[in-house]
């Protein structure tokens, strides 16, 4: 028995099913995910122009709220917002308000009072963007730029865009995610996206200490032996390994991890010959991936970065559209 409707999709969708926040891929269906990919496709062309701008968010204020540091994700969100013609404010909250004892709610209410239209939120705690959307500033579009171990939905969608560009489909694909699934918000969102979009099999390959409890319930199979797990793969996604994992007795050493779960040419040769290699970055060369593979012909790691801008443009413009539509509907209902 649950206390209230637990599904977050009511929170992130308008009554007629448009996106108004982008918090998680849970509760979003295949049509909507495909819609995001198609919209992103149309924005890729914008990035190739000399004048890389469209006026979809002109006059809107987007605030990048990074409670946890990030270079690539923040830069691509900033570029995406600017290409949509929004005014962008970057706040590194980890070093400002919260260190003066201001609560998260108070910080956000102040920013809302500055007439912000959208918050892009990165936070170290799972569910923080959800909390903001539900309880703090429901009138501001919230885009999750990564929360704790929970979700990183724009990263997963840019990965899906990259896969679609190279494979043209999801049906029948065999995809493996290798490494620290336990701590990975990226892996959780990828597993969800691949299931919704119709991939044939999602395998996670990792030692038992780096897998969440009952991981199969997320929609994947488990393989401890990477050499077995590479068989017939169309896509292999490597996850970043944090150095702290040795200290918590989750792993004995980087060397042993690389030997068992690092992607080198020999292991890649066991996959389908056209298998693509992905990594959400930043990569640890020689820890989870061999340089020759990261820079090799099967690697699509830099395509992922390029696609990141297009996906973020798509999600931001769609969520803004949902917010505007909702305000209009509310105004009309109030009149009626």
């Amino acid at each position: 028995m649950t206390a209230h409707d637990p599904s977050p999709h009511h929170l992130q969708l308008t009554r007629d099913g448009q996106l108004r926040h982008f918090l998680t891929l849970d509760g979003l269906d295949r049509d909507l995910l495909t819609d995001i990919l198609d919209t992103a496709d149309s924005f890729i062309e914008v990035g190739e122009r000399t004048i890389k701008k469209v006026p979809l968010l002109r006059g809107r204020t987007v605030v990048n709220l990074f409670f946890e540091s990030s270079t690539r994700t923040r830069s691509t969100f900033e570029l995406a917002a600017k290409r949509l013609s929004a005014d962008v404010l970057n706040l590194d909250i980890s070093t400002s308000a919260t260190s003066k004892g201001e609560s998260l709610s108070d910080t956000l209410l102040n920013l809302e009072a500055m007439a912000s239209d959208m918050f892009v939120v990165r936070h170290s705690q799972s569910g923080a963007p959800h909390f903001i959307a539900e309880s703090v500033t429901p009138g501001v579009a919230i885009i999750n730029a990564g929360d704790g171990r929970h979700a990183h939905p724009t990263q997963a969608m840019l990965d899906m865009l990259t896969i679609r560009q190279h494979k043209q489909r999801f049906d029948g694909l065999k995809v493996a995610i290798v490494g620290d699934v336990l701590h990975s918000r990226v892996a959780r969102s990828q597993i969800r996206a691949l299931n919704v979009l119709g991939a044939e099999e999602v395998r996670v390959i990792a030692p038992g200490t780096l897998l969440p409890k009952d991981v199969e319930s997320l929609g994947c199979t488990v393989e401890y032996d990477m050499e077995k797990g590479m068989k017939d793969l169309d896509v292999v996604i490597m996850l970043r390994l944090q150095k702290e994992r040795m200290e918590g007795a989750l792993l004995p050493s980087e060397r042993e991890f690389y030997r068992l779960y690092g992607l080198n040419r020999e292991k890649l040769a066991l996959a389908h010959p056209e298998c693509i290699v992905m990594h959400p970055g930043p990569i640890n060369r020689g820890v989870e991936i061999e340089s020759a593979v990261a820079d090799g012909p099967q690697s699509v790691i830099l395509n992922q970065v390029t696609n990141g801008i297009a996906i973020r443009m798509a999600v931001m413009s769609m969520a803004m559209g949902g917010q505007v539509a909702e305000r209009q509907q509310k105004a009309e209902r109030a009149k009626a």
Binding site: M1, T2, A3, H4, D5, P6, S7, P8, L11, D26, S103, L104, S105, H123, Q125, S126, G127, A128, H130, F131, E134, S135, D147, G148, R149, H150, A151, R185, R188, P212, K213, D214, V215, S217, L218
Partner: protein, 435 residues
């Protein structure tokens, strides 16, 4: 309690309704006479008495007043979350006539002076009976023994470590051995701290999906096993507070069969809700121990039904709103429950998971026996009574809740069971007609 029983209290006659005495009996009430704080007579003898007031309990249940083994009154020290006056009034609204005050106050109740303070405040401001639980270790730090004999002499009915753990098994063993010297019951929430680590939710399906930090089941079961072995060795009377796992209930039953002096309780929310309650990151349901799986929930209900688990507690933890206004991991654990315990229990009865007589037992005679007290509806018994209408409904919201904590488990939905009258030694602690 604000009134003492030797005042000339009014004579009260309760007619009609059903008597459920907490020992499995359920009979129609003819009449119940209350005089001098006690049940003075029943039946025709009661009817012939000359009374000041008659209460028509037609359609109601008349039960002994509920006894709560785990309640946080937040006084001294946490006035922003609640105080003895506000939370005991909430307890009376929930049908409770006795609450055991958790030692987790500020300062901690680890000395006779704090115990006296709690009792003094309760004597002047509480409509119900407040029985303090003393801290078994100094400051609840889990390192050094508290003055247990002093705590007992000041009026503590048991000693425990609140929701906190003890440093290691050696300290735990000495806590038990020392408490046993004075015949004190020890109360522990079984949790292996190293295994629980930074977790705040059940390590299971929801945690895996939402990327929350899990507390594995074995954090509880390993601690239960250790505590049972140490209780067996030291001979102390052990009470395990707030079980959450099916496996703990099994170990408890087995230990009881072997003759170990062990009892246990479960919080009502663990009988009703599961890990699914966190699926929308609802910080209200951040509780400790965490809400676990459906199979755990069923085993806990069965444990109450079979009497293996003696008591249902509120584990009432009122908070100010700021304590719950943050991302889940940053919120404080605990629900404001004491006013909805009965209603949630009646929902279990409606769903045929628990008999009404079992529910009443686990709220009255069960918990009373853990602290060496009695509860009943016989002639001569203390007139601590809860009269409730099981079919009437109410809705928990800002207009109905009395507790300073507004994070009740169910808000805005109609709940069965309205407490009409709570009597403590024959005095009205809660009277729905006069609210």
């Amino acid at each position: 309690m604000s009134q003492t029983s030797n005042q000339s209290s009014p004579q009260l006659l309760i007619t009609g309704g059903r008597l459920i005495d907490g020992e499995g009996r359920e009979v129609e009430n003819d009449a119940l006479l209350i005089r001098d704080g006690r049940i003075a007579a029943t039946g025709s003898q009661a009817r012939s008495a000359d009374v000041d007031d008659t209460i028509n309990a037609e359609g109601w249940v008349i039960a002994p007043g509920f006894v709560d083994l785990c309640c946080n009154l937040r006084e001294p020290g946490n006035g922003q979350k609640g105080n003895i006056a506000s939370e005991t009034r909430a307890a009376a609204h929930g049908g409770f006539t006795t609450v055991c005050a958790s030692p987790e106050t500020s300062p901690v109740n680890d000395s006779g002076a704090v115990t006296h303070l709690i009792r003094d405040v309760a004597a002047s401001r509480s409509p119900i009976r407040v029985l303090p639980i003393g801290a078994i270790t100094r400051g609840l730090e889990g390192d050094l023994l508290s003055d247990m004999a002093g705590l007992r002499n000041a009026g503590c009915v048991a000693v425990g470590n609140g929701s906190r753990g003890v440093r290691n098994a050696r300290i735990l063993r000495r806590c038990m051995a020392y408490a046993q010297t004075f015949g004190l019951t020890v109360m522990f929430s079984p949790e292996n701290q190293a295994l629980a680590a930074d977790g705040y939710a059940h390590d299971g399906l929801v945690t895996s999906r939402l990327g929350l930090l899990g507390i594995p089941e074995v954090a509880e079961t390993a601690a239960v096993m250790e505590m049972l072995l140490l209780a067996e060795e030291t001979g102390v009377r052990l009470h395990l507070s707030q079980l959450s796992c099916a496996r703990s209930v099994e170990m408890l039953a087995e230990a009881q069969q072997r003759g170990i002096k062990v009892t246990a309780d479960v919080a009502m929310h663990h009988l009703v809700f599961t890990e699914d309650a966190l699926a929308g990151f609802d910080s209200r349901f951040h509780v400790r121990p965490p809400l676990r799986s459906e199979s755990d929930r069923r085993a806990l209900v069965a444990g109450v039904r079979d009497g293996v688990i003696a008591a249902i507690v509120s584990q009432h933890q009122p908070h100010d709103t700021a304590a719950k206004q943050a991302p889940l991991a940053a919120t404080e654990p605990g629900l404001s429950t004491i006013e909805s315990v009965l209603s949630l229990g009646l929902e279990l009865v409606e769903r045929d998971e628990l008999a009404l007589t079992d529910l009443v037992r686990a709220l009255t005679t069960g918990p009373a026996s853990v602290i060496g007290r009695t509860a009943g509806l016989g002639e001569g018994d203390m007139a601590d009574l809860c009269l409730f209408d099981p079919t009437a409904t109410w809705t928990a919201d800002d207009s109905t809740l009395v507790s300073a904590g507004r994070h009740a488990p169910v808000i805005g939905r109609e709940l069965p069971g309205v407490v009409r009258l709570t009597l403590v030694e024959g005095q009205k602690a809660w009277d729905a007609l006069q609210v």
